[in-house]
């Protein structure tokens, strides 16, 4: 295990790797495309996803294309480093739609040679059959929602596929795409640490060089929330949840797939470039119902948020290219807070100079931090700081939500 102390010293070298902060300055951009439909709604999921029949795909395609054009007009001269089809279940869209969107992006922006184009896919047979066509359309990476490697748990999670199908999807992805990743949800009800350890062993056999491992979260406004409140099932309490997390870190480290972010594991250099844009507070455009973006124009950072409702978005974006309300630019403090909040999720942490740049007010952004508190969290072994930047230790990341407000000063 590399020493955490060294990690901090190495901040600069680690961070220059994928999409460093300030990608926007250099005109770099990520494009997120949200497809809001699924075959069925999973009981734990609070994403903007809907079950719908008779989708007029031609109209949707046109709206996405129109929307790409709209954002390209607002952000001329940028270079696109990554495209991400998320959802919902974007693997349900026809490969032609994906192709139309990708080529519209290529038409409107310069696209880098090593562009990463990811598609979220559900591992049902229908979708697996389309993998090749998506690859032809330009997709070069898939992220498969496997969630669990046994049928009992898949059933509990309300998934429409079996473990066998999931494995097939992985096998196919391995053949078809340059890179693939898959998601697992753990700390499920009744799950034991040892069962999870075994599942991780099987997962690493199936994995390429990237894995997302999420602890099951009970989100409000989901069927799970209700049944959990009613006591129909329980999830590991905090202490056990912490053990699950720690175990996951150790096991994956041993497999050479260390966590580079709270829930994401990769071999060096195989991080998701798209997601790294988020965590390093780069610019990204959000297209589709409920999609969010962060775009820098004339030194100001603007948040964008498309209308959530699929029909309204389709209607407005089809005409105007967007269904977002105009938003005020973010304050320096907001920008700092967002950059720190995202940056501290990364094992490599975040460099002071990048935080300063993110805040964008031409001074040291450290004024926003409470230095006595910062010292306390270092003394506790939760954070490491040096002249270059700040990174959290594994124990620190485990407490991130409490640690952030603790070290931040008033606005």
């Amino acid at each position: 295990m590399p020493s955490e102390r060294r990690l901090c010293k190495k901040l600069s070298s680690t961070l220059t790797n994928p999409a460093p902060l300030g990608a926007s300055e250099k005109g770099q951009l990520g494009v997120y495309i949200h497809w809001p439909f699924c075959l069925s709604k999973c009981p734990y999921c609070d994403f903007n996803s809907h079950v719908r029949e008779g989708i007029d795909e031609a109209a949707w395609r046109a709206a996405y294309v129109r929307s790409v054009e709209h954002y390209a007009q607002r952000l001329p001269g940028r270079q696109v480093r990554s495209i991400f089809f998320g959802g919902g279940t974007p693997s349900l869209m026809s490969p032609e739609t994906a192709e139309a969107i990708i080529s519209e992006i290529q038409k409107n922006w310069q696209v880098s040679n090593d562009v990463e184009i990811t598609l979220e896919a559900n591992p049902t047979s229908v979708e697996i059959e389309k993998f090749r066509a998506f690859q032809m359309a330009g997709v070069n990476r898939v992220s498969i929602g496997v969630q669990a490697l046994n049928d009992t748990d898949l059933k509990f999670l309300g998934r429409e596929h079996s473990a066998k199908e999931a494995i097939q999807a992985i096998e196919t992805a391995r053949k078809v795409f340059d890179r693939y990743s898959f998601d697992l949800i753990y700390a499920r009800p009744e799950q034991s640490l040892s069962a999870w350890e075994d599942e991780l062993a099987r997962a690493q056999d199936l994995a390429d060089s990237h894995l997302s491992l999420y602890q099951l979260t009970i989100e409000r406004n989901t069927p799970f929330y209700m049944s959990h409140e009613q006591g129909l099932f329980s999830i590991p309490e905090e202490g056990l949840a912490a053990d699950f997390y720690t175990l996951t870190q150790e096991v994956m480290e041993g497999y050479g797939l260390p966590a580079y972010e709270v829930s994401n594991h990769a071999r060096a250099g195989e991080e998701s470039r798209h997601n790294m844009i988020y965590w390093t507070y780069g610019d990204y455009v959000g297209i589709g119902p409920g999609a969010h973006g962060r775009i820098t124009i004339d030194g100001r950072k603007y948040p964008t948020r498309e209308h959530q409702a699929p029909d309204i978005w389709l209607d407005r974006a089809g005409k105007d290219g967007t269904a977002a309300k105009a938003e005020a630019s973010l304050s320096h403090y907001d920008r700092f807070m967002e950059a720190l909040m995202m940056g501290l999720r990364l094992r490599a942490g975040v460099r002071w100079e990048d935080l300063d740049r993110a805040a964008g007010h031409g001074e040291s952004a450290q004024v926003f931090l409470d230095h006595a508190k910062l010292q306390t969290v270092q003394d506790q072994g939760w954070a490491l700081c040096d002249d270059d930047g700040i990174a959290l230790t594994q124990e620190g990341r485990l407490r991130l939500n409490a640690l952030l407000p603790y070290i931040l000063k008033e606005a």
Binding site: G30, T217, Y278, L398, L400, P405
Partner: protein, 606 residues
């Protein structure tokens, strides 16, 4: 409009709470034509929002009526409607001291209750003639004979002249008016030509009239333009208005002996007008002051802190304004480590405290944090000094203390037999000493009458609520202060991460210290949100820890998924947490939200 003394009747309407005093006053006003039909509302004299909403009288009100009796004579009636709740018995005592007769209202469905007793005894002490009125006879469960019997047996008052009536339907109102004229006495002889001598009954601030002074003239007259002197402080003023309430204010030329009414005199500072003071003529003063009233003594104390520290000045101003028409409110600035700057306030009782708090929040839009109610202790120091302790935080070092005395009350409780057991236990648990247990009434109407001495401190929390719930609302309760008594009292301190939380300090009996301390620790444990650090909560007496709880440290609190679409939402959450920090108090390396202390205080003492 001048009435000879013979034809004036000054009287108070007294009763247990809710027996219908104000409703009866409505009918009297209406029958005498003081207000027209369209001007009447229910309990027209309860004119503040809080009185109207709660359906109780807080402030005594005086109204002048004219009634032509069967003997053909037109009488001037000065009616004083009084509050029934025990907290405001000071208002009753003042009213009683300003007049000569009382109507004792007894609810025909309830009979005599604890405050019926307390108030009627007060009337008797003031040498009042008393007309019992058996009210609410319109109700199906009304039992006039039973009520009469109780008046005779429990109070020992002749009920043969009692008037059955209904404030609701107006039945019996003429009989009551006749009884007022024939049974109640006129004012005692006053000399119209003697130097002016008038009792300052009450004063308040009115937005139209300014400071209004309610008076009862004994000798001489009060007229517009007259220069008067307040004898307690020597302040001199010129009367600019003389008048009466009908209940509308009506100007008069003068007020003569035996009459009640108001004056205004361009008074800017209400503190010049001390209730119970004697008003006399500046040039021709009277020789002697009237005996006046006993001063009101605050019994219950608590501190108010603004929830938003920026509201401190506003709180100061607002308290000043509230005091303008509530002289029983006392306050003094103080500062607390846990809650910031605030005021230590003294009240007549718990309801009074609640009402002041409500007025502050409604009339002045203040969000307040009240600390636990407490009483005034007397600390006898080893050097012979005696200190009055208004706030438990200020308790001197224990080694310098010889003894601590606490205030006691003498409580009278009337309760149906079936609930007696529960109430005896309650009194016992609250360190009560039984003085008397007798039965009043007979047969199925028999009720136990309990007299207990109790430490006031044990009563200020939730005694009244407990009493009501244990007796399904049937018990009634009244109390009066009954001196101080030494006791084994200790200061219970609550500490968070070794640091005392001043706002939570309390003085308790040693025997209940552990239970109370444990209760508070357990409550705080549930109220303080878990943090990255372990939080130790302790209850201590002196240096000795008697209870402890820990809020364990958070081991894990991290959002599993945070991508481009989550930034705004997560940031909002973070902002909310940050905002909350403004109301955080630092204890060691942990920050405790003020709201936890507030909630701990609110939950009182279960």
């Amino acid at each position: 409009m001048s009435h000879t003394l013979e034809h004036i009747r000054n009287f108070a309407i007294i009763a247990h709470i809710d027996h219908g005093k104000s409703t009866l006053a409505d009918r009297l006003i209406q029958t005498c034509g003081g207000l027209e039909e369209r001007e009447m509302t229910e309990q027209v004299l309860d004119n503040t929002d809080i009185e109207r909403e709660r359906g109780i009288t807080i402030k005594a009100q005086t109204v002048r009526l004219e009634y032509t009796a069967k003997d053909g004579i037109t009488y001037q009636l000065n009616l004083m409607d009084t509050p029934g709740h025990v907290d405001f018995s000071y208002e009753v005592s003042r009213s009683l001291a300003s007049c000569e007769g009382s109507i004792l209202v007894v609810d025909a469905t309830q009979g005599v209750e604890a405050q019926t007793l307390a108030n009627v005894y007060m009337a008797i002490e003031n040498d009042h003639e008393i007309v019992p009125a058996i009210n609410k006879i319109d109700l199906p469960s009304a039992d006039v004979d039973f009520a009469k019997q109780q008046i005779e047996e429990v109070i020992g008052l002749d009920a043969s002249g009692a008037v059955p009536c209904s404030g609701k339907t107006g039945a019996g109102i003429h009989d009551l008016l006749e009884a007022i004229c024939t049974t109640l006495p006129p004012p005692k002889e006053g000399d119209r030509n003697a130097p002016t001598k008038a009792l300052l009954v009450d004063s308040w601030y009115d937005i139209y009239l300014g400071v209004v002074v309610l008076v009862r003239v004994v000798d001489g007259t009060l007229r517009k333009g007259q220069r008067i002197k307040f004898m307690s402080n020597g302040k001199m003023r010129e009367i600019d208005r003389v008048g009466m309430f009908t209940p509308k204010h009506v100007l008069l030329d003068e007020l003569g002996p035996g009459e009640m009414g108001f004056i205004t005199a361009s008074i800017k500072d209400i503190s010049e007008t001390n209730v119970g003071d004697t008003i006399t003529d500046e040039k021709r003063p009277c020789a002697e002051k009237l005996p006046g009233f006993k001063p009101s003594i605050p019994m219950v104390f608590c501190s108010f802190y603004p929830a938003d520290a920026g509201d401190f000045e506003k709180l100061r101003e607002s308290l000043g304004k509230v005091r303008l028409n509530d002289a029983s409110l006392h306050y003094e600035m103080e500062s607390s480590q846990a809650l910031g700057l605030g005021f230590r306030c003294g009240f007549l009782g718990l309801l009074h405290m609640e009402i002041i708090q409500e007025r502050l929040s409604r009339e002045f839009d203040l969000d307040l944090i009240p600390t636990a109610p407490s009483v005034v202790y007397k600390i006898n120091m080893t050097n012979g000094e005696q200190i009055e302790l208004y706030n438990p935080v200020d308790l001197p070092d224990v080694v310098k203390i010889k003894t601590i005395e606490e205030p006691w009350i003498r409580a009278t409780i009337l309760v149906p037999d079936e609930y007696l057991g529960g109430l005896l236990k309650l009194c016992q648990d609250r360190r009560g000493v039984q003085e008397q247990l007798t039965y009043v009434g007979s047969g199925s109407n028999a009720r136990a009458m309990l007299v207990y001495r109790l430490p006031l401190n044990e009563v200020v929390f939730d005694f009244y609520d407990r009493l009501k719930s244990l007796s399904k609302g049937y018990a009634s309760f009244d109390y009066e202060l009954d001196g101080y008594g030494e006791n084994d009292l200790v200061k219970l301190e609550i500490r968070v991460n070794e640091e005392p939380v001043d706002a939570l300090a309390m003085i308790v009996h040693r025997d209940s210290a552990e239970t109370r301390g444990r209760g508070m620790c357990e409550r705080l444990k549930d109220l303080i949100p878990r943090q990255m650090f372990k939080i130790a909560i302790q209850a201590a007496i002196g240096g000795k820890i008697i209870a402890r709880e820990n809020v364990s440290a958070l081991r894990k609190d991290v959002t599993a998924k945070c991508y481009g679409g989550d930034v705004s939402r997560k940031k909002k959450l973070l902002e909310k947490q940050k905002k909350g920090k403004a109301k955080m108090r630092q204890y060691g390396n942990v920050e405790i939200p003020q709201s936890a202390f507030i909630a701990a205080l609110k939950m009182g003492d279960e």
